[in-house]
């Protein structure tokens, strides 16, 4: 007889979400999580939040650099050009 994996509780389910979204869970862990998600709206909401967070991270774009940092680097560039 094959032992069924014990069902997940929410506290443990959230620890699997990042690897789940990256596709790096073992098949067994993925099945356990999907089984839990199918009947848990709260963890599904958590998964959605995590998905939105990761998607937004990819769209934040570069920070605005302080103008003195940009100026300093442009001066560096000009010095380099005049020396070479």
């Amino acid at each position: 007889m094959k032992l069924l994996p014990s069902p997940l509780v929410c506290r443990d389910a959230v620890e699997l979400v990042s690897d789940y979204l990256d596709g790096t869970l073992s098949r067994r862990q993925r099945r356990r999580l999907e089984k839990h998600l199918a009947q848990c709206d709260a963890c599904t909401a958590y998964l959605d939040q995590m998905r939105s967070t990761i998607a937004a991270s990819g769209r934040v774009g570069p920070e605005d650099l302080p103008s003195d940092v940009v100026e300093g680097l442009v001066n560096l560039y000009r010095r380099f050009r005049s020396d070479n």
């Binding site: 506290r11 990256d22 909401a45 570069p62 680097l73 560039y77 380099f80």
Partner: protein, 198 residues
């Protein structure tokens, strides 16, 4: 213009292409450097040296990797050397053993007592996308190392887990654990920010 076009134009001596590449990548270089070196000032120095190395090496860049990968490798190698010179120890993940979600959000059985609300609901009805992006940016800024470097490289710059592992001298398994904690922390900070706006 994409990176390759900017590089081409930089080779032609176009200063504004240099400025654009700086705007795109300087802050990421500083974060990668900060992972290895002892202070913010020292990280800024490493990032600056990286740009000089780029200008010196640009004609030898063969385009076998992307410009981004090449740039980040130069930066990581220089930062590693500086870090060793400064006797800086590589930061370990302070949250490694902590939970992803605060314990009080669950009941004794481990089920949610304070369940999350999807951001998309809050955003569609009351917030615009810019608010989410700003919260996420602030949250990533607030992360400690090594989470900040890992989340920036993986989720902001879109590098693979393997590339992040190589740049930071970590195993892929370690990158995944740190990424998991970092993302959970970003989600938590964003959730607080979104809640405040509803």
């Amino acid at each position: 213009m994409d990176d390759a076009e900017l590089l081409e134009s930089l080779l032609g001596g176009n200063e504004s292409s240099f400025t654009e590449l700086v705007r795109r990548y300087h802050s990421t270089l500083v974060k990668v450097a900060r992972y290895y070196v002892a202070s913010a000032a020292s990280a800024e120095d490493v990032a600056q040296d990286t740009w000089i190395a780029v200008l010196k090496g640009i004609e030898k860049f063969e385009g076998r990797s992307s410009f981004k990968t090449w740039l980040l490798r130069i930066c990581a190698n220089r930062a590693r050397t500086s870090g060793v010179r400064e006797h800086r120890s590589i930061p370990v993940d302070a949250n490694e053993s902590g939970p992803s979600v605060a314990a009080h959000r669950f009941d004794q059985g481990g089920f949610w007592s304070e369940p999350p609300v999807p951001f998309t609901d809050a955003i569609d009805s009351r917030l615009d996308n810019a608010t989410l992006l700003n919260s996420v940016r602030d949250a990533i800024e607030a992360l400690d190392e090594p989470q900040q470097a890992v989340v920036t490289l993986r989720d902001v710059e879109g590098l693979s887990t393997q590339e992040v592992a190589t740049l930071l001298g970590l195993s892929e398994a370690n990158v995944r654990v740190i990424l998991h904690r970092g993302r959970a922390r970003v989600r938590e900070i964003v959730e607080e920010a979104v809640k405040g706006k509803i």
